[in-house]
Every structure is written in structure tokens, then in C-alpha cells.
């Protein structure tokens, strides 16, 4: 195998490591408890029959073993701190260290949701300041910070849609979803009890207005639109789309997953969107990999505000803050406590560190980076839609298909070049899609390394197709049996297997 073109990596770190349970032996420990400084409690009398009589089978390991365990595992991983993570639609941007610094300040990290309101004014101020900033960025009137992720935000948004229409006398039956939408959109509509009706895209990858006119009626609650859509195309007819919906009493929900193309440049509230979610773990640089956790605030116009989940942070006459539970039309709580507060802190740190001009620059750089890659790779890979794109770009594997190579093969080979794969086979409107989103985080040097890698792989597709079809070659494990994993999953480790 030729490695001359692989500039970033030679081999991936590869140190064997078992489960932490397998390191366990009785008596090892990594902690020393302090002397008890409160009155001792008799567990048996407090817990009664709920008292555990047998110790839980927890791993017993020393400190150095714990540290090595997780450090070794971390070397199997690829993170945005290793390099570009061009997973389209996921906005895997760098998580600035200032976010982490602020989130670790003792007064913030040590806050507790059961603290009194009077002692939690700082935490409430963080939530209020973030809420106000996000409302302004979206051009909306109100927001809930509770939802814990994008799809959770979608569901909250569609619950608002339903509650609003119910208050008007009829929740309606259907939700329209374009074929270029995020896969979670139809799932969300179904979860909230709506039928999903597919809306075709036109040849430019945008909503077909004539089809929308024809499908829109008083049975349709609304449209869920991702804008820019999963092709990276901004649907410039968004104002007309909103008018068509509003004329028949429907609402326009915007999936804000691709807000990284719009922040501080265009505001959904200004182009007719009634409500939308944001992904703080995409657009606002909070951690995305490893389960985040995510955060998916939902912003809305004034007519939907009464239905927002409770509580919301409200300001008292004296300028202090409170949690407002007195919201009779609210759809209720969608998350324990107040959402993933740690992510609110990080997102606010990001917004404040950048300021309005910084956020605008970020958006411009994200679009510039994606278009740089598009321009450099056009011709090497097939570009199915000629329409200008924003923060991400979608190629197809059509040219490489001649050698029997598919998008997934190219993605696997990219791992050998030291990059995380792009998004494979999505959006489904493109056969063999290769969806690439560099984000604003990447310097020109890293973008050029990526371009070189993609071009080298395209050459390999011609000169040595088997090399690409059997990639990756430098990782601990190569191709896994995804089918067996789905058909016969092993869901837990059992001690008797030791």
C-alpha cells in the first residue's frame, strides 16, 4: 500500500484495553473518604426492606488503572481536537477552551437545581442572558431552554404547534415534510400524533411551491423545514413558503440544525418562521461527540409563547429573576429541572466571547470553508446540484461507481488519511451522497490536507480500487459486521463470560 500521500497519520494508536470490570479485583480502590463530620445514620432503620443485602458488583480498581483505562480508550477515538471532522449536517466545530474554563468556575459548576431562587440569581442570569441573546439571533419573541437535544427541541416545537392550533379549535391532522429534511423531522411529527406527508423538492433542491400550494389545506398543521436544507441550499423562497402556510392557518417550523450558515446574517423570525429549535451542540460550540450532552432550545413568536414549557426565567419588577411556573396554557415540562444548564453556560461563553461581529465572521468563515472545498473538489467528485450552497456541500460517488466504489468506501479510506469520514448516504435525495461540512474551525492548511486526501483517494479509486474497497487499513479494527451487530446485538457484558 502506498503511504506517500498520507500526510497526517501513519498508524492509529492501538493499545489493547478491556472493560473496566475486567480490571477489578477485591479490595483495590482509588479513593479515601474523609472522617465523617455529620451524625451517622443507620441505613437499615432508614431504608427498611429497601436495604441492599448484597454488595453491587462494581469494579474495584486503583487510580492509575482508572486513568489508564480511560486514556487508552480515548486513543481509539477520533475527535475534533485531532483534526477536521467534516461530518455534514452535524456541525462538528471546535469547542473553545474558554467555554470549559467558564463552566468549571466553582460558583457555576457547584450550582444545584434545588438551591433557593435568591441564592441562584447568577445561574438564572446566565439562562436569561442566553435566552435573550438566542431570541435576538433568531428574530423571535420567546424561548425555552429545556429541550436536551435537537430532536427533543423538534418535539417541543411541534407540541407548541399542536397546542396553538388546539386553542384555535382544531389541532389538524398532517404535517408536510420536504424530502430533503432531516430524518428526525418525520419521526417528530409522528411522535406528536400527526400524519406525515412528503413534499417534493424541485430540480434546484428547493421546495416546489406549486406542490406546496396543492398540498396545503385546512388539514395541514404546518411544515417542518430545514433551512439551509440538508443539501446546504438556502431556500430563498422561504418568505413565500411562510405566506402559503399562513394563508391557510398553518405554521412554519424551522429545524435550526443548520443555523451555522445564518447566525448574525439572517433571522428566521424575519422570514416568516413561527418557531424553531437551535442545537447549542452544533451552532454554539458546546460538545457534540460522546453524547454532549446536547441542548436544543426552542424559540418562537409571541403567539406561541403562552404554550412554552414551564418554568421559564422571568424578571421581577426589582430586576431580580424568578422561575415562572404560572403558565396555565403551557405544554408542561419537557425536561427535569431547567435543561442541560452546563451547555447554557458554554453557549453563552461562546456568544459573549465572539460578540455580534465575531458571530458574523464565524458564519462567513463556515460558508467560505465549505465553498472552498466544493470548488477544489468539483470535477474530482460528481456534484449533483449546481445550486450555490452555504455551510456544507453534497457530492455523490457517481464517478467512482464505475470502479464499483461507493461513498462508504471512500469515507473508510479517508480514515487512513487521518480524517473523520464525511456523512455517508445522506441526504437520501442524492444517490451515494457524500456530505461535507468543514465548519469555520478549520484553518486553510487543514482544508488543503483534506483536499489532497480526497484527490489522492479519487486517484486510488482508478489505480487500485481494492485498496479503497477494503479500507481502513491503519485502524485497530477494519470493517465491522454492522449487520450482525443489528440482528444479534450483545447488549451487556455478563460477569460469567469472564
Amino acid at each position: 500500500m502506498s503511504t506517500k500521500d498520507i500526510k497526517k497519520v501513519n498508524t492509529h494508536p492501538s493499545q489493547n484495553e478491556g472493560l473496566i470490570f475486567e480490571h477489578s479485583s477485591p479490595g483495590k480502590k482509588a479513593y479515601r473518604l474523609r472522617q465523617l463530620d455529620v451524625p451517622a445514620v443507620d441505613a437499615a432503620s432508614e431504608l427498611g426492606s429497601a436495604l441492599r443485602t448484597e454488595a453491587a458488583a462494581l469494579p474495584e480498581v486503583s487510580e492509575v488503572e482508572i486513568v489508564r483505562h480511560f486514556t487508552r480508550l480515548s486513543t481509539w477515538n477520533y475527535a475534533v481536537d485531532h483534526g477536521m471532522y467534516p461530518l455534514g449536517s452535524c456541525t462538528m466545530k471546535y469547542n473553545p477552551r474558554v467555554n470549559e474554563y467558564v463552566a468549571r468556575l466553582e460558583s457555576i459548576a457547584g450550582a444545584h437545581p434545588y438551591q433557593s431562587e435568591a441564592s441562584a440569581q447568577g445561574a438564572l442570569r446566565i439562562m436569561k442572558t442566553l435566552a435573550d441573546a438566542l431570541v435576538e439571533i433568531c428574530g423571535m419573541d420567546a424561548i425555552t431552554l429545556q429541550p436536551a437535544a435537537g430532536a427533543h427541541g423538534e418535539m417541543t416545537g411541534i407540541l407548541l404547534m399542536r397546542a396553538y392550533l388546539e386553542s384555535k379549535g382544531n389541532p389538524r391532522k398532517k404535517i408536510l415534510i420536504p424530502d430533503s429534511a432531516h430524518g428526525t423531522n418525520p419521526a417528530t411529527a409522528a411522535m406528536v400524533g400527526y400524519q406525515v406527508e412528503n413534499l417534493r423538492s424541485n430540480a434546484n433542491g428547493m421546495v416546489d411551491l406549486a406542490a406546496l400550494e396543492a398540498q396545503m389545506n385546512e388539514d395541514v398543521a404546518g411544515l417542518m423545514l430545514t433551512n439551509p436544507n440538508t443539501l446546504g441550499i438556502f431556500d430563498a423562497q422561504i418568505g413565500e413558503i411562510a405566506e402559503i402556510l399562513h394563508a391557510k392557518g398553518g405554521l412554519l417550523y424551522m429545524d435550526g440544525a443548520n443555523m451555522n450558515a445564518l447566525v448574525a446574517k439572517a433571522r428566521p423570525g424575519d422570514f416568516g418562521v413561527d418557531m424553531m429549535h437551535l442545537n447549542l451542540h452544533k451552532t454554539f460550540s458546546t460538545p457534540h461527540g460522546g453524547g454532549g450532552p446536547g441542548s436544543g432550545p426552542v424559540a418562537c413568536k409571541a403567539h406561541l409563547e403562552p404554550f412554552l414549557p414551564k418554568p421559564v426565567v422571568a424578571e421581577n419588577a426589582d430586576g431580580s429573576l424568578r422561575l415562572d411556573y404560572d403558565r396555565p396554557q403551557s405544554v408542561g415540562r419537557v425536561r427535569a429541572f431547567f435543561g442541560n444548564f452546563g451547555m447554557h453556560v458554554r453557549a453563552l461563553a461562546y456568544i459573549m466571547a465572539n460578540g455580534p461581529d465575531g458571530l458574523r465572521q464565524t458564519t462567513e468563515d463556515a460558508v467560505l470553508n465549505a465553498n472552498y472545498l466544493r470548488k477544489k473538489l468539483e470535477g474530482t467528485f460528481d456534484l449533483p446540484y449546481a445550486t450555490p450552497t452555504m455551510h456544507e456541500t453534497v457530492f455523490s460517488d457517481k464517478l467512482q461507481n464505475k470502479q464499483g466504489i461507493k461513498t462508504g468506501d471512500i469515507a473508510k479510506r479517508l480514515i487512513d488519511y487521518g480524517f473523520h469520514p464525511y456523512t455517508v448516504s445522506f441526504p437520501m435525495v442524492v444517490h451515494g451522497a457524500m456530505m461535507i461540512e468543514p465548519t469555520e474551525s478549520e484553518p486553510l492548511e487543514e482544508l488543503d490536507l483534506f483536499v489532497d486526501a480526497m484527490k489522492a483517494i479519487a486517484a486510488e479509486c482508478e489505480s487500485d480500487p481494492e485498496l479503497v474497497k477494503n479500507a481502513p487499513h491503519t485502524t485497530r479494527l477494519s470493517r465491522l459486521d454492522e449487520t450482525a451487530a443489528a440482528r444479534k446485538p450483545i447488549l451487556r457484558w455478563k460477569p460469567e463470560q469472564k
Binding site: S425, M428, E482, R487
Partner: protein
């Protein structure tokens, strides 16, 4: 894989086999091939009413989840329970691995479906 000439086909890649007033539905070789390894098949219950053109279940592969569309209307009389534990049968022998049997509401509906030659022409254009 050859497409049985006695079956009827849809543009959504289901096949229908008719025996008197009983219909049997599955998905075609083209469908299983585009989906890839199938890991889960979700089917309706016996007694469910299917409407021609509407979804009646889903097929999940390692790549995607796809809806199943009823080629004709009718009442489900049997469901292939085997597919719950051995969905790979759809990949291995799609034209034998049936999904549901139904009593046809209107046997004439089947006449509107594609004959094997038309279906083969249709998938040739899709490729």
C-alpha cells in the same frame, strides 16, 4: 434474480401474488438489493385493513428505514412471523419471503399493477 412472471409489481418495489381472493405481498429483489442487509421488518397485525397506496409497515436495513406500501386494499389474514427473528430471509430469497397475506377487497385492483415485463423495464431505468 429472476422476477416471477405470475406476480404483479409496484413502482414502490412490492410484489403481489394473487390466488383467487387471497393476495400475498413481499418486496422485490431490486428493493432488498437497494436496502442492503435487512435487520428488522415491522408488519401489521392480523385483521388490519390495508388501503392501496398507503403504508402498512417498515423494513429497516443497516442503511435505511423504508416504508412498505400496500399494492392493493384488503384485510390481513396472516403475517410471516418468521421475519421477526430471521429478517435475512428477505435478502436471501425476496420473492419467497412473503410478508403479509390478505383477503382482497377488490380483486380487480391487481389488474392496475405492473406486469413483470413492465416492472423489469421500470427498474432498468431506475438503475
Amino acid at each position: 434474480m429472476a422476477y416471477p412472471p405470475e406476480y404483479k409489481y409496484t413502482k414502490e418495489h412490492e410484489w403481489l401474488s394473487v390466488d383467487g381472493a387471497t393476495g400475498t405481498i413481499g418486496i422485490t429483489d431490486f428493493a432488498q438489493n437497494s436496502l442492503g442487509d435487512i435487520v428488522f421488518v415491522e408488519l401489521p397485525k392480523v385483521g388490519a385493513e390495508l388501503t392501496a397506496g398507503s403504508t402498512f409497515g417498515t423494513v429497516e436495513s443497516v442503511k435505511a428505514v423504508s416504508d412498505l406500501y400496500a399494492p392493493v386494499s384488503g384485510t390481513v389474514t396472516a403475517v410471516n412471523e418468521e421475519l421477526a427473528t430471521t429478517p435475512e430471509k428477505v435478502n436471501n430469497d425476496p420473492h419467497a419471503a412473503w410478508m403479509v397475506r390478505l383477503t382482497l377487497a377488490n380483486p380487480a385492483e391487481a389488474e392496475g399493477l405492473l406486469a413483470v415485463a413492465d416492472y423489469e423495464k421500470f427498474i432498468a431505468e431506475e438503475q
